[in-house]
């Protein structure tokens, strides 16, 4: 990676940071280089990186500045350098909210999203959807539906995630593309499955009957993706909270306590103790799981467990008492957030003796 090695002078000025002491106006002037033909990919990628860095540092671009930079950037579509093209997509996303007439790149992006290069397609879809408005949506709908069921997981995920973002442009996008999302749900890729479930829930969330059907179907199959499993637990709990399909769904959430992924096990334990069922038999298994997590070597896991127990101690202090010894060990935890949570939990459940010890 010696893309920046040539900037020896800058290095000496900026104490090893090639991006220090950059002037917005200077960098925007450098962007005129984008108009040169043939495009020098290395040089242009470096300038574009500087622009993106400035924006990321919180530098505000005026409408005129942003529009000029944007239009100069569109010239870079002539180059076939992969990294440069990908940086252009990033630039489009970053400038789309400030620059004017950004829709002029629609055809270039549509060409890229339907092209052969997978590395372009996924990223082009995401860039295209940031500049799409209600009027343009109809024009790209066909391509988007195809992309959702594409065999490349990157492309499929990009299209699914973008359709969720497009909900703000048009409320029923998810519903119109639900059939394709349903197909993507069967994907072997863990992320595609997760994103598809998110789109399906968005499409049906106003129709409780449809959600019930979706959830009860999925609880009978086992989802490969731990992320999708967490999402499904949340969907099941929402229904349980409204008392739909109680027995079956409750058993499903309980069965997730034996999932092989810690993420899902914790999600299930957290859900069970928050469902507001106070039977000691029902609380025993999630509490013993949380108790186990209290002794985990991973701080995040200890934190998660003690946070859930803490909340629970407000409503069912007696049930949490079983974990008092484990919580006492956490009082001296090196992580201050964990120690604080442990102490406040014990104050709700324990006697003075345990804090004293």
């Amino acid at each position: 990676m010696n893309a920046f090695k040539r900037d020896k002078k800058e290095e000496e000025d900026g104490g090893g940071n090639p991006f220090q002491n950059m002037e917005k106006t200077t960098v925007l002037q450098e962007a005129r280089t984008f108009n040169d033909t043939p495009v020098n990919p290395r040089k242009c990628a470096h300038i574009l990186t500087k622009i993106l860095y400035l924006i990321n540092q919180g530098e505000q671009l005026g409408t005129t500045e942003a529009t000029e930079a944007f239009f100069a950037m569109t010239k870079l579509f002539q180059s076939r350098d992969v990294v440069l093209r990908r940086l252009v997509y990033l630039g489009i996303k970053e400038l789309s909210s400030v620059a004017e007439d950004v829709i002029i790149v629609t055809s270039s992006l549509t060409k890229d999203m339907t092209g052969k290069e997978d590395l372009y397609r996924a990223a082009a879809i995401r860039a295209l959807c940031t500049i799409t408005d209600g009027g343009m949506l109809a024009a790209i709908e066909r391509y988007m539906k195809q992309a959702i069921v594409d065999k490349s997981p990157a492309v499929s995920s990009a299209a699914l995630v973008s359709s969720l973002h497009l909900t703000s442009v048009s409320g029923d996008v998810a519903r119109r593309w639900a059939n394709e999302a349903q197909e993507a749900l069967n994907s072997d890729n863990v992320m595609v499955q997760y994103h598809a479930l998110g789109v399906l829930y968005q499409a049906r969330k106003s129709d409780k009957h449809a959600v019930t059907k979706l959830v009860s179907k999925l609880t009978r199959t086992s989802l490969k993706s731990p992320y999708a499993a967490c999402m499904l637990i949340r969907m099941a709990c929402k229904l349980l909270d409204e008392d739909e399909g109680a027995g079956e769904l409750y058993e499903f959430v309980e069965s997730c306590l034996r999932h092989k992924s810690e993420m899902v096990v914790y999600e299930a334990a957290h859900a069970l103790v928050n469902l507001g069922r106070s039977g000691s038999r029902e609380l025993a298994s999630p509490i013993s799981v949380l108790q186990l997590f209290c002794g985990s070597p991973k701080p995040a896991l200890r934190f998660a467990a003690v946070r859930t127990l803490n909340k629970m101690a407000m409503s069912h202090p007696a049930a949490v008492t079983a974990c008092n010894l484990d919580l006492e060990n956490l009082i001296t935890d090196s992580n201050r957030s964990i120690a604080t949570l442990a102490i406040t939990t014990l104050l709700k459940t324990g006697a003075e003796s345990s804090v004293d010890r």
């Binding site: 090695k5 993106l52 996303k93 914790y266 928050n274 469902l275 201050r336």
Partner: protein, 213 residues
């Protein structure tokens, strides 16, 4: 927003019942909002940041317009976050109502932020993916200078991990594959077969004028 409350209010008004009934439903609703039950949504990540050892921003993205809407607020939050985390290597902290998981190496600090009700292990998986992706991109040389030298690729990686608050990919090796490293920068011995194929494809295409990629 909350149909239970709304319908209750409308019904109550129609039947001339006292407003206290409505009040009760709202209290229930508040308990739910307290993260008792998590809303099924893919929008899990509130932000990601890479800071240097002075707490200055190298890269940061915030995905929720409602938290820290201005750059000033973001930087103030980052300073605060850095002050509370740069000495304690504790992996997780609750700050300003956000759960932040973090990791550091030499002179770099990596953060992933989520709502305080979010499943911490999901946030942790995103953080690990961010760190491992950067580590693979910089060929295990995770330090500030190296990040700045490959800033373009690191930016692309961040964009591949999270899209507008939705986890796009949490597997570092697949993220690195998707950012299309400049193949001519990797010694041939370290290249994967796929990369070599791509490179051959590209050099072949370069000699075939007229067919656009």
């Amino acid at each position: 927003m909350f149909p239970i409350g709304d319908t209750a209010i409308r019904k109550g008004r129609k039947e001339g019942r006292p407003v206290t009934r409505v009040h009760v439903t709202l209290i229930n609703f508040d308990i739910n909002m307290d993260g008792q039950l998590l809303e099924p949504t893919l929008y899990t990540v509130k932000g990601m940041a890479i800071l240097d050892n002075d707490g200055n921003r190298i890269l940061a993205k915030y995905y929720d317009k409602k938290i820290f809407p201005t750059s000033k607020e973001q930087k103030a939050f980052e300073k605060n976050l850095f002050n509370k985390t740069h000495r304690a290597n504790a992996e997780i902290i609750m700050l300003d109502g956000l759960t932040c998981v973090y990791r550091s190496n030499v002179d770099l600090f990596f953060y992933v932020m989520g709502s305080s009700h979010e499943n911490e292990l999901i946030l942790m998986s995103v953080l690990n993916c961010l760190y491992d992706s950067v580590s693979q991109i910089l060929r295990k040389n995770v330090e500030k200078r190296a990040v700045l030298d490959s800033l373009d690729i690191v930016m692309l990686a961040v964009d591949e991990i999270c899209d507008g608050g939705i986890i796009l990919d949490a597997d570092a090796s697949s993220v690195v594959q998707r950012v299309a490293l400049r193949t001519d920068d990797i010694p041939l011995g370290e290249q994967t077969v796929a990369q070599t194929c791509t490179q051959l494809q590209w050099s072949h295409r370069a000699r075939m004028p007229g067919d656009l990629p």
